[in-house]
Amino acid sequence: MVERDVMVQVDRVSKSFIKHAKRGKVDVVPVLREMSLDIHRAEFVSIVGPTGCGKTSVLRAIAGLLPIDGGRIVVDGREVNGPGRERAMVFQDPTLLPWASALDNAAFGLKQRGIRKVERRARAQEALDLVGLGHRSGALPQELSGGMRQRVGIARALAVDPSVLLMDEPFGALDEITRRTLQDQLVRIWEQDKKTVIFITHSVEEALYLSDRIFVMSHAGHIIETISDLMPRPRTREQESSEEFVMLRAKIWEALS
């Protein structure tokens, strides 16, 4: 009964890396150990956790970029065995092609899907407009500020109209002011067409402000806390000083420490 609603299912997923210790000794370092979680359609989910807890690994596994050793990942009813059209990723470093304009960067995913030039340019322009960068479509990445570059990265993911948006600490490298602007923008875009979003962050405040549900991870994909009854939407910045917010934050910090 819940099954129908599940958009992304991570099912007992394991992944280990081999670490070559000195003197021929070999260590197996598990980054994900039988991790399971379900994410519902149109849900905005955040995964918070300390550095090295495996949160980026699970996202890369869902994206199909990281082959897993065991378990399975099902997205929209289909098992993942590589990158797919229904998923799009926003990277921490926006990884824009330095030789291509903002427009061509935003159109990159569409081009890979064989969409004609006129159409993909129109759709990419639309996506740039959506993130508020329509007027800079001709600029090269190095002519844009860090925040603008990240918005091109988001536009690139939105342009392919994925059902699941995977975001790997997208605002992690930005300054606080830019970061808040982009958070607001992301909420606005999400409220328009309610995509399923998986958002990785190490900022508890960011997760609380954006998400429907928060998974708190400790190590190797070990989820120590799932927080679901968050504040009602629409949210405002003023709520960050509310009693509820402070309590939730304290709860997460307690789980993390």
Partner: protein
Amino acid sequence: MEAMTASDAQTAKRSAPSLTSRDERLVRDWKRGRRRNRIAAIGLPLAIAIGFVSYWQYATTHRSNASVLIPTFTDFVRATWKLLGLGDFWHAVWISESALLTAFGMAVAIGIPFGIYVGRHRTLDGLTSGYLDIAVVTPTAVFMPLIIVFLGPTYWARVTVIFIFAFAYIVLPCRVASSTVSGDLVDMAHSYGAKKTAVWRDVIVPASVPGIFAGLRQGVAHAFTGMFLIELTFLAVGLGYLIVGYEEAFDPAYVFGVSLIIVVQAAVCMSVFQYVENRLSAQWRSAGRK
């Protein structure tokens, strides 16, 4: 396992391999891969060498055209071995390489301090950089005839040729190294009251050491080039004379032999400098660079 979900009950039936056996499989695969890599790293170049030598030997012993001068591989090895025991050969080495040593020593003695100083001096750097840029792309050999005309067929003509071959290549890496010594490091030294000479002695020169070795390596390569070129063209003495003689006597195995021995010499010199350079720049990279 706190994060149990509805789907878990369903999938729990599937027999998942236990963690330990999966880890064992991972380690096994990894070790197998590493073993394969090690075999390939030695085996593949060795196979190429053996294939090359076999083909060489086969093609030269079964040739139909006797006028082809390529010696067989075994002749070449025999000739090299003979050369190593030949007094005349070592005499030729001495004639050639005494000039090489003199010239290289001079180029080092002038080039290293010059390069390091120029790298720290903005104006001087700008004024000389045009010449250094040109020196790198132009064949130095174009100036060889002029030196012969100036100095005649003398020892010092050879020394001069080798010197101008090596000089720019010694200066350039030293210049790059000293110009990229971090300004913070220099400021730090000043802030601790270091005087100008102390800054040079304790900061700039030590920080340029990897560049110095890069210069030595490139310089020695070009010094060998200069030595070889002058002796084979305008001034047939030493090793050049030997090679020309063997060529004229149709003794190609010896031509190969002399070349090989000098190649090995040059390669050993360069490898030693390269080794020191790599070691030092790996240590230096972590600190003191821009």
